[in-house]
């Protein structure tokens, strides 16, 4: 585990730096096949690109949920998460599970980056803001809880938009921190945590 963590830290720190070295700090835009004109329904206009991102995200969330709750690999993952030692005793290859989980997580993060790249701009630090919000969402939804995280994500988005729209536009990104503080104060295990032992 020690070696693995070392490599992990290296990868995280260096990937941002490598990206900077390879592509420079200037932002880049990505061309999409969607029309520029938005879809207008009454007073609401949504861009086609964002609809596509929403659809793709829901698909990926659905696939992850199915993987974790309906497959053998998913069962092994849940078992390892509940109690790694007992799972190992039951014959689960926990080192393999860690690797597989990490790989799937990284894959999902990469997909998120690819989906958001055209919506915003591509820069070496484009993931920093998202990582921060991911923290807030995980605290809101509970660690290890996919449904909780999904609903938590929607809650964070609503709170941000309403906060930015009706309270103060400058504090939009701070709403995530606000949520973290409130949840940690009143329900530290997250809004949707089940009563089960972890670890």
């Amino acid at each position: 585990m020690d070696q693995f963590l070392q490599h992990l830290l290296n990868a995280v720190m260096l990937s941002g730096t490598y990206a900077l070295l390879l592509w420079g700090g200037v932002a880049k835009a990505i061309v999409t096949p969607f029309p520029e004109a938005p879809l207008v329904v009454g007073p609401v206009s949504i861009s086609w690109l964002r609809l596509f991102v929403l659809a793709a995200a829901l698909l990926l969330i659905g696939a992850s949920y199915l993987l974790i709750h309906r497959t053998k690999l998913g069962k092994a993952m849940r078992a390892t998460f509940q109690d790694a030692e007992t799972a190992a005793l039951m014959g689960v290859n926990i080192k393999g599970i860690f690797t597989a989980t990490f790989a799937i997580g990284s894959g999902l993060a990469a997909a998120a980056g690819a989906l958001l790249g055209p919506v915003f701009l591509v820069t070496p630090t484009m993931g920093d803001l998202a990582s921060l919000k991911a923290f807030a969402i995980v605290i809101l939804g509970g660690l290890g809880n996919i449904t909780g995280a999904t609903i938590g994500g929607f809650i964070l988005a609503f709170v941000e938009e309403i906060g930015a729209g009706y309270i103060s536009s400058g504090y939009r990104d701070a709403m995530g921190f606000l949520i973290i503080i409130v949840v940690l104060l009143f329900k530290p295990t997250g809004l949707f945590a089940r009563a089960e032992r972890i670890g």
Binding site: V26, F120, G170
Partner: protein, 385 residues
């Protein structure tokens, strides 16, 4: 044997270090602080590259006081704390007698106390917050116009644009808020109503909430102050929302060609207040110098879009070189005194510092010209001024 080898290596390294420092005595160091990474990386790199062109040009003609001009370029990471830290490093470790920086008003303001502490002058090439030259810091010499001057210059043509009511969407730092304040004041003097003043965090990528509010307002014009990355995102998101107001941007960091390239059709029919017009060097204050600079920029393979900001790095270094020459020595106090005595032909007007700020502790401010340009059908158009 091993001990001998390592001792020899150590000796070699020390000798090499000695040789390099001896060589460095023959050059005059100028500190350059710019955002090379972070939210304003595009602009920072353009200015730094403009500065390099100036330094190379000066060195090709024999340097300054017979020595080579050496730029020590540091990255402030688009962060005020970093800016103050690298300024201190340049002054204390590199012992630079003069600096140029730091692009963003917030970064420049963070460095100003260090200038007072170490008594080193800094030339401000881009920042536009009024506070920079009115806080009583005699080590600041600015060649870029403060937002108040931008607003005054804009006032000359604002009546022609027939704006009834304007909303502001500005980046939430000294630059953006200063611009909203100065332009707002000017609008009130011209009987233009000011509506919403919305702000956005410098690294923010999603401005839909602010844009939705602005779309619902009754103003006919939207004034935006921020740099090219956020402008690209704003234009794309405004187009997605179906925002149909007239858009005017201020601040000079729009890099219109990059906007056209990255925002595409969303950038059409927008108006911009800029300080240099590389699309038509003939209207600039010194057409020959402008053309030569543009040629050198293209020769180095830098993106054309960067010309609208890089000229500031170019002008800044040339002004610093003139001050060092006038001072006769590369000492901070002599250079500071020399700044007041020089007059340099700049890319958008004569550079000569006037006193600004509280008496006895004035900063230097030079007053350049501004140009209004429009983007139409994916091209930059200079309307009849």
């Amino acid at each position: 044997m091993r001990q001998y080898a390592s001792k020899m290596t150590l000796a070699a390294i020390v000798l090499a270090a000695g040789v390099t420092t001896a060589a460095a005595q023959d050059s005059i160091k100028v500190g350059v602080i710019q955002p090379l990474t972070g939210a304003f990386a595009a602009s920072g790199n353009y200015v730094a590259n403009g500065a390099k062109i100036a330094a190379d040009e000066i060195n090709a003609k024999g340097g300054v006081l017979g020595k080579k001009l050496e730029l020590v370029i540091e990255d402030n990471k688009s962060n005020p704390t970093e800016a103050a830290a690298v300024a201190e490093k340049l002054i204390v470790r590199d012992k630079v007698p003069v600096m140029m920086g730091a692009w963003g008003s917030g970064f420049t303001l963070a460095i100003m106390p260090k200038l007072m502490e170490y008594k080193v002058p800094m030339l401000v090439e881009t920042s536009s917050a009024g506070k920079i030259t009115t806080s009583g810091n005699p080590y600041i010499f600015r060649i870029s116009p403060p937002s108040a001057v931008e607003a005054t210059a804009f006032a000359k043509i604002v009546d022609r644009l027939k704006i009834g009511k304007a909303d502001f969407l500005v980046v939430n730092n000294d630059w953006g808020r200063g611009a909203a304040e100065d332009f707002g004041k000017m609008f009130k003097e011209h009987n233009i109503k000011v509506g919403l003043v919305e702000t956005m965090d410098p690294p923010a990528q999603d401005m839909s909430a602010q844009l939705a509010k602005i779309k619902a307002s009754d103003a006919d014009t939207l004034i935006i102050t921020t740099a090219v990355e956020q402008l690209t995102l704003i234009f794309k998101q405004a187009a997605a929302l179906g925002l149909k107001k007239r858009i005017i941007t201020t601040g000079g960091s729009q890099n219109p060609d990059q906007l056209i390239e990255q925002a595409g059709a969303a950038a059409n029919d927008t108006t911009h207040i800029t300080f240099f017009t590389p699309w038509n060097p003939n209207v600039s204050a010194d057409p020959a110098m402008a053309k030569a600079f543009i040629e050198e920029w293209k020769k180095r393979g830098y993106p054309f879009a960067g010309l609208t900001e890089s000229f500031r790095g170019y002008d800044g270094i040339r002004t610093i070189a003139a001050a060092i020459t006038k001072a006769g020595k590369a000492e901070p106090e002599a250079i500071r005194a020399a700044f007041w005595q020089i007059e340099v032909p700049g890319m958008n007007g004569k550079i000569k510092f006037e006193k600004a700020g509280p008496a006895g502790q004035e900063s230097g401010q030079s007053n350049p010209g501004i140009y209004l340009i429009k983007i139409e059908n994916g091209k930059v158009v200079l309307p009849n001024a």
